[in-house]
Structures are given as structure tokens and as C-alpha cells.
Symmetry: C2
Subunit: 421 residues, 2 copies
């Protein structure tokens, strides 16, 4: 419930923004998808045309970023290439087909009443993110293309960059005749505004946190609004005894080392005790500079493998470190994943179809893979287009969330005077 | 997160139940749907065979129910017919086809990776309900048939009845070789156990409150677990100027008076200022004993119409009372519903197809109807089978929620050694 005498000024400000967003969402529900595409293409031009102003704003942010870690400064930093990537990403989202208006199912009842279930926007989405300014454009674009109004709350360290990018989005909206309140930016660093967003049930329909584990956990702990969250990706690759060694090595090296900082990276390698080529497998990782932390039997494979502590089995390293356990068969692998996995992405490598099907059926993760790298956990790789995130929860949307995950449905019934009587 | 030194004993008890439920859910994920059907048919026999014990337990509850309202006592009361209805309902759910294993979509990527999106159970569902003992069987059956483990928490006034019905459910489970922990009952009246359920994030995946508005609102306010909630159904029927008078009268009388206590009942009647047969329409309701509360222009139709107060436009009466407003055309009707509706079910009566399509598109409710009674808002009438409730939220499931709404999905990918490289 919004409104009421007991609201703080932060709550009132968010309530006002949510009210404007709701009105904008009602307008968006009436426009053709071509209009949101047009707005995003215009926003892309505004980003390109305003590149120098965007970079100048980013310099302002960087000048204040002295105390941030090098990694955070890199996430914050824009350059000509990154600005062009932002513009290109806007055009890519503009080109995505929208699921809006799709009839999910249709049924005509014996009494003649026809019922259609139709995809519609969720309404008002709140995005809470950290220092990456590109999220302002990416997330704004995905919400708009799926017909939603969005309230963006980026990190205060990126305030000037976010304002400049938000201005380009507003230019795109107005040049397509769409309400500027369809994409709003909370550009005040006051954290009370974040809390107010998390509590704006009825005003904001869905919160999507984009950032590190601590941000997401904090959002989940405080939110009164439904949250589409992605916590950690503690992903496993299980090399079954019937795995082809060349395939296993290629998948394991890709899953761990292609990019170590992505949520789809393998963090624990499970090697079947009966897998005949375990030594070359671990050597392939070690020789590429990957630190391995193993259980007793894994350590016996190579002296460079360090002992794993209990917490290693639950750690998302996001760097060139991997836990390694030797497991006695499929059941032990399933049990290890059930005990330590985070429900994100887990893979089995095997030539044994029955073992693969059991793994796919029984591993309770958003994404389960047979003979493929966990690094495919990505909306683009799934053919969904850009993603707003990878959901590890169990409700509404799971795995890579793109446009469809930002929609809901309504039931539309067409009758000819039917009564229940 | 469950576990940890800081948990109360109530939290520990729920955590233990949730852990057993999780293990049971893992077993359910491996059985054929025929097994849950078998368990429900066996439970139906156990209900019939144990009818006298169930009725004796219900007498115990009724003996302690002296201070309850007559309405609550009626909801609590079982008799031979109601027990038979419970058994028949279990058999009906057993006969429902399950969506489990359905492939929602399938795609093969250019690299040959095949991705299937597959329906699976949510996992562990918590049901919090009031004095109706039949919910123990109905909700337990829907959760089991959709492959979920369930933790049931009924009203303390129905404790003995719920125990007896739960015993029949357990008999059904064990006779089908399914784990009894698939359907657990919290049969301790301590309210701290309800709070513990609402906070058991990670242990319970979804909470479904079944009961009055105050119960649902309290659950929504405290829950840390996602809630599939149905608040009020402040439903409108808009009689457009181009409505057929006979059809309008039949739909309005059915929507309001067929059953006044159901959530699909009409609570506000909107009559177009240009509708020519307004007087017989309101007389049809008045003559059937329905109290009408109208705005100034509505009162002018008949002296028996009382003045409506501001709160009447937002009231779910659930009795033979109806608010009536005269509106100046479709836009005014849409504005009234946007301002006062509860997003449940709203209907237009008109022979004007364009007006109907605008109403269906622009009314932002879970169910929108053209030329049909709002009392069709029911899972059975939608052909979905028994319903766990009607969701008025915007995430996951909307409108009547039956088996599909109690499922989620996973992505299963089948490759031949694909790496991202």
C-alpha cells in the first residue's frame, strides 16, 4: 500500500515516481511494440551523439572514485568503445521480438466461453544495481521493450554517468512519443530511497537486483516487493566414468577458464572415481594456471593440488581457482551437488545416455547440461537475446531472464451472455 | 537460509519439517504421476473408511467452538455429505493430468546445443489456512499431484479434524509407496510456527494463504518466502450503452446474486449513462433482495437505492449488497475500475466489439470478461480442475491457480561437447 500519513519523505518520493511509472505503464500497454523499438533506436543515436558528454560525466565519476578498488573502477569506467557497445546493445534489444500479446493458451469451454491467456507487461519494475553505468541503458531497454515502466537506482559512484545515459534514454522515449516516466532514474545517493523501493509493494511490481552477492542478499532480506534474484553460481561439472576424455578436458577447461568472472563458470569439478583419465584432466587445469583445491583422493592425482577446506565446496571463486572432488559414481555426484550446489548451472560429461538423463532429471538447478560447458549459461547463448539476469529462485522465471521473464499474463474471456446459473 | 545458532525452537521445528519435505520432494521428482494419483485414490478410500473417526474428531472441534461465529462454525462443521465431497475431490484431483515433464519450449542452437524448458514441481509449498478442514485434503492433494511436498498449517479450531484428515492422506501416501513427509501437518496451535513458516526462505519455496483478507494481508506483511496471494475481489460489471438488455440483466443478476460469498461475485455495477434500460436493470437486483448503494445519478433511478459512501467503491461485500455508479462512457468506466478495482475479475456487457476489445486490453485485472458473468472466475469453470486459489498478484501465476501454477521449470541442455571457446 502506498500513501498514508506514516510515510517518510523517501517513501513519498518513491511513491510519486511509482505513480508516474504506473501511468506510463498504462500508456505503454496501449502502444505497438514498434514504438518501443523506435524509442530504443533513437536512444542509441542519442548515446552516440552524446558520447562526449557521457564520457565527460564518466570522468567526473572516476575523479571521485579514488577509494574504489581497481575492479570497481574498471566496472565504472567508460571509453569510446564501451559507449558504442551501449548504443549497439540498445539497437539489439530494439530488434528483439516481444512476447507481448502472445496467446499462451486458448480454450473454449462447453458453454461456449472462450478463454485466452495473453502475455502482458508486469507493470512497474525496479532495478537496483552497482557501479556499471551500462546497466542504466541495458536494463532500461529490456524493461521498455517488454512494455514495462522502470525505476532505475544505480550506484552513487556512477551518478553522473547514469544521469547522462538516462538523458539519452529519455530523448529516445520522447522522440518516439512515449512518456519519459517510462524510464525513471533515482539519482539521489540517499540509501533510504533504496529501502523505500524495496518496500513499495503495490507501487513497484518486481525488483531486479543487478550486482554482487552482498547487494542481492541485502535486497532479498529487506524486500516487500517480489524479487527476481540471482545469488551465486556455484556450478559443478561432473566427469562421469563414461566421459570421452578429449571432450571432458575441453569442457572442463572452457567451463573454468574461458572467463573466470562470469556466473556460469565452473567452481567445483567432480571426477568419477572410475574415470580413467583424471590425471590429464587436472593437469590441463593446472598447466593453464588454475589453482586446484581437492579432497584427499583428488590431491593424490597431482602434488600441486592443495587441500580443500569445507567452505571450498560452497565457494563461488569467480577466479582461476577450482575445487576438485573424487566421487564414487552418479549417486555420489548427485548428492554432492544437492548438498553444495546453488541451483544455477550444473553439467555432466558422459557417453552414457541413461546416466545423462538421470543427471538432467535429478539435479535441481535452473540449468542442467549434458556434454556442454556451464559457460553457456547466458541469455544470448540460449537465443533469448540480452538478459536482465539469471534467476536462481524457483518462482515466475528461472535461468536466463530476458523479455518473457519481464512479462506476466491475463485471462481474457469472450462470451455470448454466459451465466453460471 | 535454515540452520544456525540463532534459531528459535519454532524455527527449528519448521526447519526440520522443511528438510524432511525437501527430501520427500526429491523422491516425488522421481516417481511417475500415476503414483501420486494412486496415493490420492487411496487417501479417498481412507477418508471414506475413516468417516466416523473424522466426524468424531470434528465433533471434538465443534465442542470447543462455542465462541466462534455461526459462519465460522459452519465452515468448520463436517457431516457425512461433506466427508464424501472431500473423498470425491481427492479422486477428482487424482484424475487431473499433470503438467510435469511438459516441454514448454525447445530450441536447437546453431552450435547444435538443444535446450528444452521442462515443467517440474516447485518443491516445498506451505499452506496456511483457517477453519475449513477440507483444505487439508484439497490443498494437500493439489500439491502432491503437482509433485510438491507440502506443509499444512490449519486453524487451531479445526485441529482434531485436520489431524484425522491428514492421517487419511498419510495412509494414501504410504499405500502408494510415497514418503509420508510429502504431506506434513503443523498441528500445534503455537502461532510462532506460522511466523517460522513465513520466514523459512530456502526451506519453503512458496506460501499459499487460504482464507480471509486479514489472514492473507498478515501473511503478505510478514513473509520472507514468496507468497501466492489472493486479496479481495472487488469485481465490476460495466453495462455499456450497446449492451443487450436481456443479456445485461441476466449477467448482472448472476454476477451479484448466484452466490454472494464467492470472490468472483460482482461488487460494483457500472451503468453507462447512455444505456437505455438502466431502470429495469437495477429493479432486477432490488426485487431479488439486493441492497443497492449508488451515486447521485444512480439514486435517481429508484428511490430504494441508498447513497453510496466513498468506501463503497472499494468494498468487497460478499453479501447481497452492490455499489452502483453511472459512468459517462467506456473511458469513465475504465478510469473507475483503475481507481477502485482489485485486479481480480471485471466484465463488460456490450454488443460493440471495439468497446469490448478495448475493455479486455485495458482493464488491468487477472481476469477480464466480455458478455459473461464474473462468477466464472473459478479454476473448474476455466477447465483447470480444482484450484488452490485465485492469484491477484502479477508474478508467476495469475487468476485461477491449479496444477500448472504449482510448477516451475528447468532448462535441460543436451550437447555433443560444445564449449563457448
Amino acid at each position: 500500500m502506498l500513501g498514508g500519513w506514516s510515510m517518510t519523505s523517501a517513501e513519498n518520493r518513491i511513491a510519486d515516481m511509482a505513480q508516474q511509472a504506473r501511468a506510463a505503464a498504462a500508456e505503454l500497454a496501449r502502444v505497438e511494440p514498434a514504438q518501443t523499438a523506435k524509442a530504443l533506436r533513437a536512444a542509441a543515436s542519442a548515446v552516440r551523439g552524446g558520447a562526449s558528454a557521457i564520457l565527460a560525466a564518466n570522468d567526473e565519476d572516476l575523479a571521485r572514485a579514488g577509494k574504489l578498488s581497481a575492479a570497481m573502477q574498471d566496472r565504472l569506467r567508460l571509453d569510446a568503445a564501451r559507449v558504442e557497445n551501449i548504443a549497439a546493445a540498445l539497437e539489439a534489444v530494439a530488434a528483439l521480438p516481444t512476447p507481448l500479446g502472445d496467446v499462451i493458451d486458448t480454450r473454449t469451454r462447453p458453454n461456449g466461453l472462450r478463454l485466452d491467456r495473453i502475455r502482458i507487461p508486469i507493470g512497474v519494475v525496479g532495478i537496483i544495481y552497482e557501479s556499471r553505468p551500462n546497466v542504466t541503458a541495458d536494463a532500461g531497454a529490456l524493461c521498455l521493450r517488454s512494455g514495462n515502466a522502470v525505476i532505475l537506482r544505480g550506484g552513487s559512484e556512477a551518478q553522473a554517468s547514469n544521469r547522462a545515459l538516462h538523458q539519452a534514454m529519455r530523448t529516445g522515449l520522447s522522440s518516439a512519443g512515449l512518456p519519459e516516466a517510462a524510464i525513471q532514474l533515482v539519482d539521489d545517493p540517499d540509501r533510504a530511497l533504496v529501502s523505500a523501493m524495496l518496500r513499495a509493494a503495490g507501487g513497484i511490481d518486481l525488483i531486479v537486483p543487478r550486482g554482487g552477492k552482498s547487494l542481492v542478499a541485502a535486497v532479498q532480506a529487506d524486500a516487500r516487493v517480489p524479487v527476481l534474484a540471482h545469488l551465486d553460481g556455484n556450478n559443478h561439472v561432473y566427469v562421469h566414468r563414461a566421459a570421452d576424455p578429449a571432450m571432458a578436458e575441453a569442457i572442463v577447461i572452457d567451463a573454468k577458464l574461458r572467463r573466470t568472472g562470469v556466473c556460469g563458470a565452473m567452481e567445483t569439478l567432480l571426477i568419477d572415481a572410475d574415470y580413467p583419465a583424471a590425471i590429464p584432466l587436472v593437469e590441463g587445469l593446472l598447466e593453464r594456471g588454475c589453482e586446484l583445491r581437492g579432497d584427499g583422493r583428488a590431491q593424490a592425482l597431482d602434488p600441486r593440488i592443495r587441500p580443500a577446506a569445507a567452505e571450498d565446496w560452497g565457494t563461488e571463486y569467480l577466479e582461476a581457482i577450482c575445487a576438485v572432488a573424487i566421487v564414487d559414481g552418479l549417486d555420489a555426484a548427485l548428492a554432492h551437488i544437492a548438498a553444495h550446489g546453488s541451483g544455477h548451472t550444473d553439467a555432466i560429461v558422459t557417453a552414457d545416455a541413461a546416466a545423462a538423463e538421470r543427471f538432467l532429471a535429478e539435479v535441481d538447478s535452473a540449468i542442467v547440461l549434458h556434454n556442454a560447458s556451464t559457460q553457456f549459461a547466458d541469455g544470448g547463448e540460449f537465443g533469448l537475446g540480452a538478459e536482465i539476469g539469471i534467476a536462481t529462485g524457483r518462482l515466475h522465471a528461472r535461468g536466463p531472464v530476458a523479455l518473457e521473464g519481464l512479462t506476466t499474463y491475463k485471462w481474457a474471456g469472450r462470451g455470448s451472455g454466459q451465466v453460471r446459473g
